[in-house]
Symmetry: C2
Subunit: 183 residues, 2 copies
């Protein structure tokens, strides 16, 4: 009898997110801020378009991780952007998702809880792989943990370039090669 809770919980999160947006519209409308309402609506539509783009990349595990990330207990808020519509059907979705999940967990352990932590991910599918730009801003209290993870724990077909790794900012460029390309 306890089955299907996942679906229900899932819908609860989605409903919560969307209701927040509608309440934002309602609030601004009550204040007669019509221009702001129009901006909010355009932002909502743009966000939904990004969600659709991410969903269409054909890396469902990775897409699901990103789409549900802000419902978890991470101490950072995730934003993402898909930079083009190239499909990622040769990407090892499981490998990409496993690495990203590990990175999120490490980041979660390293960042200061209850502070303003933001992680932005830009996703650039390419013909021979996928390029990800991770930009964290907030407070890192255990830099060594991240440093260790980034230097030692990545599979062969994941190339990481650390652009910045300081207390208030991390910038990474991560390239994941296609399955066929790494044979």
């Amino acid at each position: 009898m306890k089955k299907d809770w996942n679906t229900i919980d899932f819908l609860r999160h989605v409903r919560h997110d969307w209701l927040n947006k509608v309440q934002l519209i309602k609030g601004n409308l009550a204040l007669n801020k019509e221009e702001r309402v129009k901006e909010i609506i355009d932002e909502i539509i743009a966000e939904a378009q990004q969600e659709a783009r991410l969903s269409n990349l054909e890396i469902p595990k990775f897409a699901t991780l990103l789409l549900t990330c802000n419902w978890g207990n991470y101490c950072f808020q995730l934003e993402y952007e898909v930079l083009n519509d190239e499909k990622c059907q040769y990407i090892e979705d499981a490998v990409l998702t496993k690495w990203t999940t590990m990175f999120f967990n490490i980041l979660n352990k390293s960042a200061k809880s209850f502070s303003e932590n933001h992680l932005s991910v830009s996703i650039a599918p390419e013909s021979n792989g996928i390029r990800l730009f991770f930009d964290f801003s907030g407070i890192i209290i255990d830099r060594a943990l991240i440093d260790d993870f980034l230097h030692t724990k990545s599979p062969e077909n994941i190339k990481i370039q650390i652009r910045t790794l300081v207390e208030a900012e991390i910038a990474l460029e991560v390239f994941v090669e296609n399955e066929s390309a790494s044979d």
Copy 2:
């Protein structure tokens, strides 16, 4: 690699539903119909409250069936209302859901495709079971199929009362007894 499509497809449906609502707000705002926008927002919030109520009844399979019903290929549009907040933890969720799914399928076969068919379900949880009121309006082309289903295929703890069964309307009252009560 094809796993997790369910989640992605699921989110696609939800996003589509919510975007329709936001577009409705946007459209009416563009026409300066502020009062209509406020009404739409109130309707959206009321609908979300019903969704939350249904989700909280503790009959997740049945709730999932109703929440996702309009994404399927049924030839009718479903609306539902939960009349009170009593929990249904003694209801056999699987039995209730199986019967309702069969009823929906029979209704789908019996009603005229591409016509304006509506099914409204009122849900009244009671201390010893759950009472459901099904009201269909539209065009039924195979009444005998429904009649046969309603008279022969229900499990013991499901009691059906046919209020109306004509070409343009069906009204049923269905009571599903609690597990313990039917022992």
